[in-house]
Amino acid sequence: MEIEENVDDFNDSCSDSDLADIEELNSLFLPCHNVSSQSVGPKYILHISATNDTNCNIVTALSDASCDVFNLTESQLHKLNKFQEHNQKLIDCKFSSDNRNLFFTGSSDGTIKIWDLRVPTESVITFKDTTLTEGSSVKPLSSFDVSPSNILLAAGTELTDGDAYILFWDIRNTALLGAYWESHTDDITQVKFHPNDSNKLISGSTDKLINIYNLLESNEDDALQECLNTEALVEELQWFNVGKQWKISCVTSTNDLQLWETDGAEPYKCLSRVDIASQIKKNPGNTYIAAIHPLRNSLFALCGSNNSLRSLNISTHDLNSGYQCLENTQRVRSSWINEHTNLLLTGGEKGKLDVWKPDFSQLNLKDLKRKNGSQ
């Protein structure tokens, strides 16, 4: 009987060599230059959010449960302040979409806080489960999102005493509005509001499901509209649109990517870790998906392999190479893009906040050239 011999190679050697030579890599991937970099110290930068203006503010959530905020002006990073109050790991951070001085943080300590950049000493508001009674366990949060209307706050929790919750707050007051707890049976790793519809929410869990809810319904049974069974553990979800059609991208815990229609019975496109590795010309044993960002009717997939960082463009019918971030030196855990200001921010396990300036308009040009070239 056979045991596959070659499967061990990539584990044993941890070989990080490229599967193409430099010339081929340069013809496939556009260069993406690092214009500025700052260190936060020997911590991981786990989450990044930025404001949408040109001289943007950037919040980084660190592995010591603090946030460092920077300003980026004329390609130079200046540290503004440190914000620290949570005593357990940070699960996400987000700038408010209508006030560039406010940002949200969520933590597995069970709370979400709003911070004002002008008041670094303490948070402005804290949201928690106000229905908790003496002796009952705090529900550690594992994800959160703010509605586009800036009125609703939703947070997914870890499995606690047999239930996994989605907690809802009205941002204008701190009492818990309500919760769902029947639709997932394991940690809720993602909750995302539809970018244009505050009544539509998706949640993803390590129970393998992506659930879609209509929040206008008065109870959870009726609110649950669709359940998409990914048959994998959901790590990250994104809403993205192709023209008027909204779809969902799902990154699994094993670094595979699934693209779903909201009423699909199965993904309409799947890219495995092996597919992604082959496209970024790296060994699958080291390849990971750092982030997925919707960009111009397709998806900008930031992918890494140890210290290499490359991007791919993914659309329904195409998979093309994008950028190579040559100066990258860390495993990337968080990123942010702004296509209007040609900005890419990355943060990772060596504590570096890197600022990159990809020319996003070049991406389409490159694909067109390649298409023409192949005819």
Partner: protein
């Protein structure tokens, strides 16, 4: 074979587990699991270590799968002695929570045809979700028995807060070769997900439910 765990060591280990189990026969079918202990990994800041993997040989032969099928799938299920329910049977449950819960308890997993799977929330409410048994998709492109076997052969692993993980990869009535293949596949898969691969592995053990752990690495 990996330089970390030699072919001989793997066979010896699996052999010990099987022998110990045969020496002290139990009145139930013992599962065989691998236990992996990690090092240089911080669950507070490192990426979640979890996923699903399909094994070569079915570790849980007694698993009961029920098909929620369209006409074609129901006929196929009947012909293959697979338990099934059609749309009418599901409608009869009338979204009654107790009945849906009872259905969920009766089977270990469900598969549903495309036409049905989209209607599940409306036909049954969140009952199957609550039981952690929302159906997987059964398409007409693949054989039913093959998909059922795939469901039975797929295991989930998820490390939460402590640095060790236990995964059931077989049972004591499997042959030595079958167990070795399942153990080998699982270990390789798990290690490939770790940032530093073998440098993140502190120890590996194989054991049967009632038997002592046998060290592999």
């Amino acid at each position: 074979m990996s330089s970390k765990v030699s072919r001989d060591t793997l066979y010896e280990c699996v052999n010990s587990v099987l022998t110990t189990s045969k020496d002290k026969k139990r009145n139930f079918l013992e599962t065989v699991e691998i236990q992996i202990g990690l090092k240089n990994y911080d669950p507070q800041k490192d990426k979640r270590f979890s996923g699903t993997v399909k094994l070569k040989h079915i570790p849980r032969p007694k698993m009961q799968v029920c098909v929620l099928g369209d006409q074609q799938h129901c006929d196929e299920a009947k012909a293959n002695n697979v338990p099934f329910m059609d749309v009418e049977a599901l409608k009869k449950l009338n979204k009654n929570k107790k009945l849906v819960k009872k259905l969920a308890k009766k089977y270990d997993a469900f598969l549903a045809s495309e036409a049905l799977i989209k209607q599940i929330p409306r036909l049954l409410g969140p009952g199957l979700n609550k039981a952690g048994k929302f159906p997987g998709l059964l398409s007409h492109q693949e054989s039913m028995t093959q998909k059922i076997d795939e469901v039975k052969a797929t295991i989930k692993f998820q490390m939460k807060k402590v640095l060790c993980l236990s995964v059931a990869v077989g049972h004591v009535d499997m042959t030595e070769d079958e167990l070795v293949q399942n153990v080998h596949l699982s270990i390789n898969f798990l290690v490939s997900l770790l940032k530093k691969h073998w440098q993140n592995v502190r120890s590996l053990h194989v054991k049967s439910s009632m038997g002592p752990p046998q060290r592999l690495y």
